[in-house]
Symmetry: C2
Subunit: 149 residues, 2 copies
Amino acid sequence: MTMVRKRGSPLAEQLLETLEDRGYRDTLPRRAVVQAIAERERHFTAEELHEQLPSVGRATIFRSLKLLVESGMLCRVLLEDGNLHYQLSHRGHHHHLLCVQCGNSEDLVGCDIEDQLRQVAAARRFQVSGHWLEVYGRCQSCQALQQPA
Amino acid sequence: MTMVRKRGSPLAEQLLETLEDRGYRDTLPRRAVVQAIAERERHFTAEELHEQLPSVGRATIFRSLKLLVESGMLCRVLLEDGNLHYQLSHRGHHHHLLCVQCGNSEDLVGCDIEDQLRQVAAARRFQVSGHWLEVYGRCQSCQALQQPA
DNA sequence: TTACTGATTGATATCAGGTATCATTGAATG
DNA sequence: CATTCAATGATACCTGATATCAATCAGTAA
Ligand SMILES: [Mn+2]
Ligand SMILES: [Mn+2]
Ligand SMILES: [Zn+2]
Ligand SMILES: [Zn+2]
């Protein structure tokens, strides 16, 4: 009945290493969660993850998500309907172009929204320390699918 | 035991009129909710409102909030801690400068973030239809209060 | 290898914010 | 007034998440 610690995908291993570097232990439930996340290509909810991993306690699912978000490996995505999803984060700070039709999200990096914000806020003596931005619309493929009139 | 329909503040009356123009009835619970909101200067939660108006059913509180948001008279404010608050909205689309220290929020109107977004997204063939933006930082008075070194 | 110890886990309870149901009430209209 | 359907509120329920806490296990030291 001894569970074997199997090697996960390279991405999963990398995520686990980062957690270890931060002082968190390499546990079986954690491995399962991280591996499942590493395999996902789209944003997901905590519940979806839990359905996929019924052997992992719900609390542990949420604890792992929080850990990964705090460590910058996971980002939270606010859908237009107000639901909060999670998604692997490969880069630093960025935003999302969320397609309201197919649900896909593209990362929006290197835009100068930050500088813009800082400027416009500075004019009002407001010291910007952070922000939250989600962009909703239709992705290229969804446009192509229905535009051809 | 017949409740009297009292006249509310000018702002409350104006909000109610807008609701009536949209086909919603002028009811006693609605008046109470709208009046309470009109008196608030800061963002608040549904629960806070319910505590203030225990005679109004919880469901009605939420229904009224949704109505006012849909009608553009109330805006939802996403705090940095993830909590959702509500706040009177006097103008059209705008954003908030949220002070993480005192909790106040200033409206950010007339910034060109929208155009920026549309441009940067268009370059990626993404058709922007909406967005959500909250800006966090410190307001002028909170800076003044603690900066004097 | 084994012993130790605190981090981690999962069952459970609890919470916050919000929606669905539905019998009852009451605002608007004529 | 009488009618009628929008609105209400009690209740149950739901999603997403956290608090508790005894049991377990990963990492380290012996
Ligand atoms: Mn992201
Ligand atoms: Mn606002
Ligand atoms: Zn799409
Ligand atoms: Zn402030």
